[in-house]
């Protein structure tokens, strides 16, 4: 068969010669490799790991983390509970209950309909970003951090208290 590249190398199983059988040169070589790492880490400060709780790795710009429900420039909630995000969600992680805006709540919600309850089950969510794409109001983005760990399943159902952005003047 015609080789695809010229990188092919033919290997043959030769019996080991004396030094190979003694293993000592191979051991010395291995020791020198680990020693190089040791010296680099001790004297040259070759930190290759991220000291996680103290410092966090920067995510790329299109990283999809925890969801957040956005507010507009006046601090009103953008979401109108149209349900398109829930419809587009392949994991069926999003549920919501719509409500009608009452008098005196105009500063809270942007339009007449709003989500009274908005829940995402973080155990089901696959962070595909389809809710983000489906939203006609630019109300939901997956621009948050990694979802933190917890002990109980019920604590992974995130309500509005965890999802909505904090108010502007705070």
């Amino acid at each position: 068969m015609e080789p695809l590249s010229k990188k092919r190398k033919l290997l043959e199983a030769k019996p080991l010669n004396f030094w190979e059988k003694a293993y000592l040169p191979a051991i010395a070589q291995g020791l020198s490799i680990t020693m190089k790492h040791f010296v680099k880490n001790v004297f040259a400060g070759g930190d290759v790991t991220v000291r996680y709780p103290d410092e966090k790795r920067e995510f790329s710009e299109n990283y999809r983390g925890m969801h957040s429900l956005k507010r507009d420039e006046n601090g009103k909630e953008r979401c109108t509970a149209c349900g398109l995000c829930a419809l587009s969600c392949p994991a069926e992680a999003i549920t919501m209950t719509a409500s009608e805006r009452q008098k005196g709540e105009e500063h809270l919600y942007r339009e007449e309909k709003y989500a009274a309850v908005y829940e995402i089950n973080m155990l089901r969510c696959i962070f595909c970003g389809l809710c983000e794409e489906a939203c006609p109001k630019e109300a939901i983005y997956l621009d948050g951090d990694i979802v933190p760990t917890d002990f109980l399943r019920k604590d992974f159902i995130y309500g509005k208290d965890k999802l909505v952005e904090p108010p502007l003047n705070q």
């Binding site: 291995g30 020791l31 490799i33 790492h37 040791f38 880490n41 001790v42 070759g46």
Partner: protein, 347 residues
Amino acid sequence: METTDLIIKLILVVAIFAISLVVAMYSTYAERKVAAFFQDRVGPNRAGPFGILQPLADGAKMFMKEEIIPTRASGFLFVVGPSLAIMTACIGSAVIPWGPQMKIGDRLIDLQVTDINVGILYIFGVVSLGVYGIMIGGWASNNKYSLLGAIRAASQSISYEISMGLSIIALLMLTQTLSLKEIAAQQHGWHWNVLYQPLGFLIFMVCAFAETNRSPFDLPECETELVGGYHTEYSSMKLGFYLFAEYINMFVSSAVMATLYWGGYNYPGMDWVAAHAGPTIAPIIGVVVLFAKIFAFIFFFMWIRWTIPRFRYDQLMHLGWKTLIPLAIANIVLTGVISTIYQHYFA
């Protein structure tokens, strides 16, 4: 006179005991830190600055953990196992000369707990007793994996003890004494035994690795094959004793290697220092030098551990019986021939 000697010896015993425990304690920390550096990680850094309180935290954890003795285990032997392991590890350091004679006031003090004229044999005896701790522990757990681990430990220990003893014989042919104090004193100047017995030292070192159950000879605790090996059923501080015994063994065997082959407390320019620093301070420098050598060996133990993979069991036996023993015997013959020729024609 008698009581002062007794008190001095007592202080020495307590000091050496404390030092070996502290060294073993911080070996656990050093091992984790060194392993981290070899593997491009950070290692323990939470408890105290740079994590130096980590051994204390580990110790506290060990003591707080639930103590489990399996119902079908032999209760008495189950407790005896780890106690024996740590006891034999601790008494090995009694014959090691930590430094030259020290002068305090008018009194000359040997920096050695006891100088018995069969020092090396004593160490061999104690070291080979150590396997009883493992053996009893593995047997008493009433667990197949533990028993297999214990049997492996025993067979490995016996196999390597033979070549260790043979490698020592070549050394004894040169030193003409079994007393460690004598052997250390003979290496004054540049007469370090490793220069005369390089092959013997290599064999001895490999065997020391096997005797302390350190990687690549840590078959008794082969977690992929034997769950945890001989200490599978152990929990809390009884497990701690086993792990601790390994580190004390490492310390003692490093001390023995340094004393037998690497000149003990001797270092170049020793006489000059002794003439200038006086008979009280100079021995302390000797002790520091010996400890530097010991720490270098401990580091080497760790370096090997995080580089070389574990042997397969048949490879281990092959190396012990078919390579090291013939090599050791060849070394004896070679040493005999060369020293005879030297004595006849050059001495």
